[in-house]
Amino acid sequence: MKKKGKMSKSISISLTIVFMLGIVGLVGQAIAAEQVTINLWTQYNDPQDRKAIEYIINVFEKENPEVKIGHRIMPNYESDQMIRTVFAGGNPPDISLSQDPYTMSKTFEAGKIMDLTKWYAQYGDRFPESAKGVSRKEGKYFGVPDTMLTAAHMFYNKKLAKSLGVTEPQNYTEFLEVCEKAKNQGVIPLAFGNKEGWTGGTLYQMYLFETVGLKGINDMIDRKDPEQGPYFTDPGFIRAAKYFNDLHEKGYLSEGVAITSFDASKMEYLGGKALFFFTGSWYSSFDFPPDFEWGFFRFPHIIGELGYNRDEGLVAYLGKMQIATTTSHPELCLKFLEVFSRPDVMHDSFFEMGKYLPAVAGAVKPEELTEFQEAMVAFARTNTGSCGFMEPELPPAVGMGQVWTGLTAISADEITPLEFCESVEKVYKKELVR
């Protein structure tokens, strides 16, 4: 009898526990139902970039406890393809980061990306005009830039330069002389991998600033008529390809440049095997910064070329946050962009953690800048003209297609500079006809 009472007592306790758990579950479900998830896709792969965006997400989630940011990091090289595909599929994430201005401006025209003009009326004064300009299409805004990038400088290993007995070159002729000296002493003059093609694209554009100038590049980007110039077969474009080819022909680049990736060339430089390293301002954000003293100088101008007496170069606000028009929570997405572009948040995240210069004006005090960042800012302010990366502004089959493939083919000795220019021109013409 006593045993039976004990048993029924334990059954009652068990049932009560199950009941309580059920209640807790229901309450939890109700809370979860109230919580909204905003999907955010970015390409912040590097550890410091990831830390920076996670910091911003944390700030936003603390201020908006009912909102959860579902963050997905896309692989860097494929991210723009993923964004294009997901927009084409009709189910894009609420907010995404794109580095593909050509497609995204077309996607905006197609009404798939939210018009941020009203948002800019409220928060636009956070950005300098140069940053706003690249986020605008016919007076309407479609994206919020994250950081400012430049590609105007060459980096070098000071210790190695000293041991080779060379100084910073003042022009391109001197630069080639230094390369020759380094090569003769068994040092890779310029660590450069062109397997992916984009590195070649950036270097080719540096030569274009010299041979056809900013106007020539912009005219090429804005070209509408296949029968109207400028053509990739114009002398300036061919000359730039020849300069690009010469570096490789003279043996100044990494061995197997066509099959060496950007990361591998970076390792050659960081490992002290190479004297120079050409890349953009993200150099200062490397996850493994050089453990040697390094210096930098302006990419050397070429005597006798158009760009010699000018100071034109690449200043870009490539990454832009954009909101899909399909989002069910436009207000929350706009709120996220407000947090994302707050000067103090940008300072503590992308500047402090990522070592980037935020696109937001006033996010960083001048005294906080490193020597290189000061040079970046000075270049962005004082240059005689600048534009962003050329390839993502061109139709993808041209810029990220034939320009990249062709430059890798030059690096592999598979085509000549003239054949490269002819092949790009052919594809560009075809694209313009389409």
């Binding site: 393809q81 294009r84 595909t85 927009f87 084409a88 497609t103 077309k106 996607t107 197609a110 009404g111 798939k112 890779i188 397997k195 992916e196 093609g197 990494s254 061995e255 197997g256 440049v257 066509a258 099959i259 060496t260 990736s261 591998a264 390792m267 050659e268 490992g271 095997k273 139709p395 993808p396 089959a397 990220m400 297609g401 493939t405 062709g406 890798t408 083919a409 690096s411 592999a412 598979e414 085509i415 389409r434």
Partner: protein
Amino acid sequence: MIPKKITFWGGPYLFILPCFVVYALFLLTPLFGTFAFSLTRWDGISFDNLRFIGLQNYKELFFDDPTFWLALRNNLVFVGGAVVFQCILGLAVALLLEQKLVLGNFFRGTYLIPFTISLVVIGIVFESILNPSLGVLDKVLTSIGLEEFTGLGLWLGKAKKAIWILIFIQAWYGFGWSMLIFVSRLKAIDPQLYEAARVDGATEWQKIVFITIPLLKSITAVVVLFATMWAMKIFTIPYVVTRGGPNHATEVLATWAFSHGLSYQHIGYGSTIAVVLVVIAMIIGSLLFRLTGMGKAQE
């Protein structure tokens, strides 16, 4: 009890139906969709831009796209390489491992490991090993005095040589699978046949030629078919290791379709390449089916 008359709902069709629904939904529908897209010009941004252009994409593909022919040739080279290296190596290793070797089971498992690893990882690992400046292969060869064999990684930058490195990687990846299939069939051969041959005075070589090889005929057809199909749809290794370069030298139909369809926003043209790839694969598959007598009832 077997019903006298098999009706649609009561017969085998009922059992096939769930599979057919999945097949129709996830294979036939995308296949027809891809074919439909191949008759259009579309940038994938907005359906407003979609235009029906008939067979123009096919015309452009066959008559104005040398890269397509290069990619097709590369696919066929991959097929040849897969059959010759992957299948023959798999068979040879399987026969060796059946000789009751010490650590035979260990090797059997070890050779299968590459097949279990992601192709992306394999591509990245080989890229790192072969890198001319930082890769370990050249360092190892130099350290053991084989300097004349260094620089193999540079082949990846040469149009005529790069594909052979990729074929090697593909064979290294796939031969373990071929070996496993051959081993499973070898295990099923009745040992009495070998015993009878031994009594009749057959040598080891004669046993292989007159017993083992004829009995492996049906499974060889399966191995060759699978290796061929994998080689036809190969994508990851060329994409990861060479990105189809240099100058399209290692481009295959799948990477070319991917470049057009997704990277260049030529959805219609990319679909056309994909359709042609499917058709060619189907033709090769059917030929193999016929030539090897697969699908025929066993006597």
